[in-house]
């Protein structure tokens, strides 16, 4: 019987279970585990659960070194942008040390961070940076959109023998949805059809899945059946499932919270241009953030980001190309 869980809770429960299962899992970050009353400290002690200074490079580098020596560190980073001060560790150390050593070491660690906080956090705290971590051989990137995936993906991340960037969307943190019972794992590189449909494929991740499902609901009222596909991990990326959906629907709308060229959408569009071209009855259409930083004021922030309405309009525009020559 699936449990109803808040997104944030699903992550915390899954980390707790993994720490219970494997004593090599350690968990640390800034502004956590401040006192002995912290639930993680209480359960697992101050060796395995630690507070750190504002030193992301050291935090991530220590995770990499500890991972090579048999620990499985989960580093809490709070906001994905904070990885940027330590980005060499994410892009050029964690995923490459195994390869450069000719397979002698492995680096099992999880860099956990929230992102996309479209709630007035402005230009430096609201971004989507996952595109910077795509195409990095050796690195996996998970982007859950519901409690079940949040739970199952963090478990897979902790058990994976490779570095994983686990990104949870801030706007989803309080959303409740069911989580399957037992030791539920979500595999990497397997997209999920969140809503089946026949007329058009919508691909989206994280918060944009929620918006796309809402848009699909609106479209259904207009007689348009949209299939919503969530890749769940953008590295590896499950191109097959997306192409299979496009084969069925012939149309593709991609929704992404990042600006166009910083999006996973454009990567997926590129893949479909190579592998799904023959199934396309219309050009693909991307609904992304505008090419601006995220402004502080709500009026402007809303203008910049994708919305249900923009998704609906995009779907309708590709549907309209049915008749016309494309």
């Amino acid at each position: 019987m699936p449990r109803e869980m808040m997104f944030a809770e699903a992550i915390a429960v899954a980390i707790t279970e993994e720490m219970q299962r494997d004593s090599n899992v350690v968990f640390y970050g800034q502004n956590m585990a401040m006192t002995d009353r912290d639930p993680f400290v209480r359960k697992f002690g101050k060796d395995r659960v630690r507070i750190t200074p504002i030193s992301e490079t050291a935090e991530l580098g220590i995770a990499v070194g500890a991972a090579m020596q048999g620990l499985r560190p989960v580093v809490e980073l709070y906001m994905a942008e904070f990885m940027l001060v330590a980005f060499d560790e994410v892009i050029n150390e964690a995923p490459r040390l195994r390869y450069m050593s000719g397979g002698q070491v492995k680096v099992p660690c999880v860099f956990k961070a929230g992102f996309g906080f479209a709630a007035g956090w402005a230009g430096q705290h609201s971004n989507c940076t996952y595109h910077t971590m795509m195409g990095i051989p050796g690195l996996r990137v998970a982007l859950p959109s519901c409690s079940a995936d949040a739970y199952g993906l963090i478990k897979s991340a902790i058990r994976d023998d490779n570095p994983v960037v686990y990104l949870h969307h801030y706007m989803l943190m309080l959303d409740k949805s069911p989580v399957p019972d037992g030791d539920y794992l979500v595999p990497f590189g397997v997209a999920d059809v969140k809503r089946p449909g026949t007329d058009v494929t919508i691909v989206a991740t994280a918060w944009m899945v929620k918006k796309s499902l809402a848009a699909a609901e609106m479209l259904a009222k207009d007689g348009i059946s949209a299939e919503v596909v969530d890749p769940r991990t953008v590295a590896p990326l499950d191109v097959d499932t997306i192409v299979k959906s496009v084969k069925k629907t012939g149309r593709l709308v991609l929704v992404d919270q990042a600006p166009r060229h910083a999006s996973a959408a454009v990567v997926i569009a590129g893949e479909v241009a190579e592998h799904g071209f023959k199934y396309l009855k219309a050009p693909v259409k991307m609904v992304t953030a505008l090419d601006t930083s995220v402004p502080y004021s709500e009026t402007m922030e809303r203008y910049v980001l994708p919305s249900e309405e923009k998704i609906v309009a995009a779907v309708k525009s590709v549907m309209a190309m049915q008749a016309a020559t494309v």
Partner: protein, 343 residues
């Protein structure tokens, strides 16, 4: 520069007034979360407790000197002469905001009043300040740059790299490490090796062979004297100094982090909320820099209790108008958002 004992009565009163303005402004920001929920978005960080330190530092400025703060940036521009209304309007997301609603509480900027920008990312503003100092050096403007950052920020690589470069290049910059005892919810001795060992944080200056001094940041005149010396040194081409100004952050780190539409407000201070240490918080309140300076100025005959009261009332009235102005200012039109991406 004159020493603090040579400061005129007018200057001392100006200092007290600015301290009151910072306090009252921050009080109004805090109250806004209660009185006008939703008007302030994201994360706002207040400077109450820092008034003596801020004003003591900025009282040493020459007219063209620059100030580069962190995201906890409300206090400085108030002292620099930025319109308080425009600052509040920015925090309220309004088009009359000092950044037209693009920046918000963490990114106040007013280059015309000598505060070019504020970065929200820990440590980076320290490097930006050194960069401004490099420009001043190359252009021989005679400016000194005041770089403000927190105790927590002194654990970020940018801090160390910048102080070394500033020392090697002898840049005209004064680094002011505001040790308010906390890095967000973390007590300083949980994360700083100097603090853990009982050493002052100004000892970090030894890594760069520059002067490092710790000062009581609740005493604006003590701060003034120490910063004067550092600014003189910088202006004379002798390079940077590191000043640890110790005071207590009197509000929590920021408003509680929530997901809209769940409302947010300022909660209890972390001393109590996280560490259950009511005594620490009470001691800090007893040591309130504004109360202390007020008593001192009355004690040495700078002003009377009635004079002080008049100043305080004036400030209250000013900030009442400020809130009204900001509330009345229109929200920017959505389409404005595509402006200012490129110069």
């Amino acid at each position: 520069m004159p020493t603090s004992s040579q400061l005129s009565k007018e200057r001392l009163i100006w200092m007290y007034t600015q301290m009151c303005r910072i306090r009252e402004f921050e009080e109004r920001v805090k109250r806004t979360f209660v009185e006008h929920p939703g008007v302030i978005r994201g994360h706002a960080h207040l400077g109450d407790g820092a008034e003596a330190s801020i004003v003591g530092c900025l009282a040493t400025r020459h007219e063209e000197d620059l100030v580069m703060p962190s995201y906890r940036c409300h206090g400085y521009p108030l002292v620099l002469g930025t319109s308080a209304g425009k600052l509040m309007a920015e925090i309220y997301q309004r088009s009359d905001g000092v950044c037209k609603g693009f920046g918000g509480s963490m990114h106040l900027a007013d280059p015309a009043h000598h505060m070019p920008t504020a970065s929200g990312i820990i440590g980076q503003g320290i490097a930006h300040a050194a960069g401004a100092a490099y420009a001043a050096q190359v252009k021989k403007t005679g400016q000194v740059i005041y770089s403000f950052f927190g105790d927590g920020s002194s654990k970020q690589g940018a801090f160390f790299e910048t102080l070394n470069m500033a020392a090697v290049w002898k840049l005209p910059v004064v680094f002011i490490l505001e040790n308010n005892g906390y890095q967000a919810y973390t007590k300083i001795d949980l994360e700083d090796a100097n603090a853990m060992a009982g050493d002052p944080l100004s000892q970090k200056a030894k890594a760069f062979s520059i002067p490092g001094i710790t000062v009581d940041g609740t005493d604006p005149l003590a701060v003034y004297d120490v910063v004067s010396t550092a600014a003189d040194r910088a202006r004379a081409g002798q390079g940077p100094s590191l000043i640890e100004s110790k005071f207590y952050r009197m509000s929590p780190h920021g408003n509680a982090i929530t997901v809209p539409p769940v409302p947010t407000q300022f909660q209890e201070h972390e001393a109590i909320e996280v560490y259950g240490n009511k005594a620490e918080f009470a001691a800090a309140q007893a040591n309130d820099p504004i109360k202390k300076f007020r008593a001192k100025l009355i004690g040495n005959g700078t002003f009377t209790d009635a004079d002080a009261k008049k100043i305080e009332d004036g400030v209250k009235a000013e900030m009442e108008e400020v809130v009204k102005f900001a509330l009345a200012s229109p929200l920017p039109a959505g389409e404005e958002a595509v402006k200012y991406v490129y110069a």
